[in-house]
Amino acid sequence: MSVFSALLARDLKLALRQSADSMTVVAFFAIATVLFPFGIGPEANVLARIAGGVLWVTALLAALLSLDRLFTVDYEDGTLDQLVLSGAPLPMVVLAKVTAHWLTTGVPLIIMSPVLALTLHLPAQGYAPMMLALLLGTPTVSLVGAVGAALVLGTRRGGVLLSLLVLPLYIPVLIFGTASVEAVITGVETNGPLLILAGFAVLALTLCPWATAAALRQAVE
């Protein structure tokens, strides 16, 4: 457990020291969302109809951008070798890094989302489910993304390749994330999509750290 807390504390401290990195991700989230009214037109009812989906898609892309650097820096400066040799189970190390990633990018995205939802005229009853869905969905995004980020370590075209590997795997989260917002707006009050998102999170939490650990181990071989 000491490895988990030590690594989590270090990553959070680093993120705080280089807070511009997290800010950039949130700024990307904002600018990408704001592009939509320009592309689609400012009619309130059209925007309200697509608000949930737009926020989810841009949040996924923003998270993806930050995932590129999840292991790369540690890989390039030799820290990853040392972390593999930390004496603790590697999935635990992965979990610490993913938790830090979620706290420094997932949480800011959740906090930012209602502000952006305002600009898209999201109906009032949509805010709570949207934030709840992001809260349940972004951990899966970080966990699944970590597998991809570990797999592309040392490749010639890391970032683009990462999107190709990970985005198809994000589709289930996107479907149920958007559906939880839409279910409330269309009046079909249901927790089904949210429960499924929670199920995905549990599944990702049990499987992804091991897959990521396997990928990291072969990256440092």
Partner: protein, 232 residues
């Protein structure tokens, strides 16, 4: 003289036998054996490409061996995580975060390996490599030699019986080599072991030498048609 720290290790011997390793389709070495007793030192020598770094990474458990086994006290290793906890590995890369100060960098490794930061021992590790003056500076301001000393100071923040050092003398000036020699001597005096890959290991006193050139497979140098079949 570096004083003993709490949570010390029990001296044990470290050995390997029948080791072979294939990298990128090439058999780097084969039939390699070595042994280090508590307090012992082993210097790895050999021409470029003879696998010094590969052997160190194999000893650390990062690279799997194609054949053979490593052992503590002649008991083969079965748990890579427990094995990793018994060693410190200094690679070509310094694993330093430029945004952190010298103390913070070392403090992280200390908390990772020992669960908490012990200021007295941390200060001692910083002093051992003559970094006290720089302790509060962010690592991004350090020169290459200073960064290397900071990486070496990691050896002292948490005790472990086996030190694996890959070319630790590079980028060090004479006084720093002295510091490294002192640290190694103190480590060995406690029953620790050192395995160094180096061209001129002036900082290791009376260690044994392992020439890796001996274990370079001859068949790989002279590609024969019989060996085609077996290789993939």
């Amino acid at each position: 003289m570096v004083r003993r720290m709490d949570g010390d290790f029990t001296p044990r011997s470290f050995s390997g036998s029948g080791l072979a390793c294939r990298r990128g389709g090439r058999l780097v070495f084969t039939g390699l054996a070595f042994g280090v007793a508590p307090g012992g030192a082993l210097v790895l020598r050999g021409p470029n490409g003879s696998g010094k770094t590969t052997l160190l990474r194999l000893m650390a458990g990062l690279t799997p061996s194609t054949a053979g086994a490593l052992a503590w006290d002649n008991v083969p290793i079965d748990d890579p995580e427990a094995h990793a906890a018994h060693l410190r590995f200094i690679t070509h890369l310094d694993a330093i975060k430029p945004a952190f100060t010298v103390t913070e960098n070392l403090g992280f490794w200390m908390s990772l390996w020992r669960g908490r930061v012990d200021d007295a021992n941390l200060a001692r590790a910083v002093a051992a490599f003559d970094l006290t003056r720089l302790a509060a500076f962010p690592a991004r301001l350090l020169s290459a030699g200073q960064r290397h000393r900071l990486a070496l100071a990691r050896l002292l923040v948490a005790p472990a019986p086996l030190w694996l050092l890959d070319e630790p003398g590079n980028a060090l000036d004479a006084p720093s080599r002295e510091s490294l020699a002192r640290a190694i001597a103190a480590h060995r005096a406690q029953g620790g072991m050192v395995i160094v890959a180096s061209h001129e290991a002036t900082f290791v006193d009376g260690g044994e030498t392992l020439d890796l050139g001996v274990f370079t497979p001859k068949t790989a140098v002279h590609w024969s048609e019989e060996s085609e079949e077996a290789q993939i």
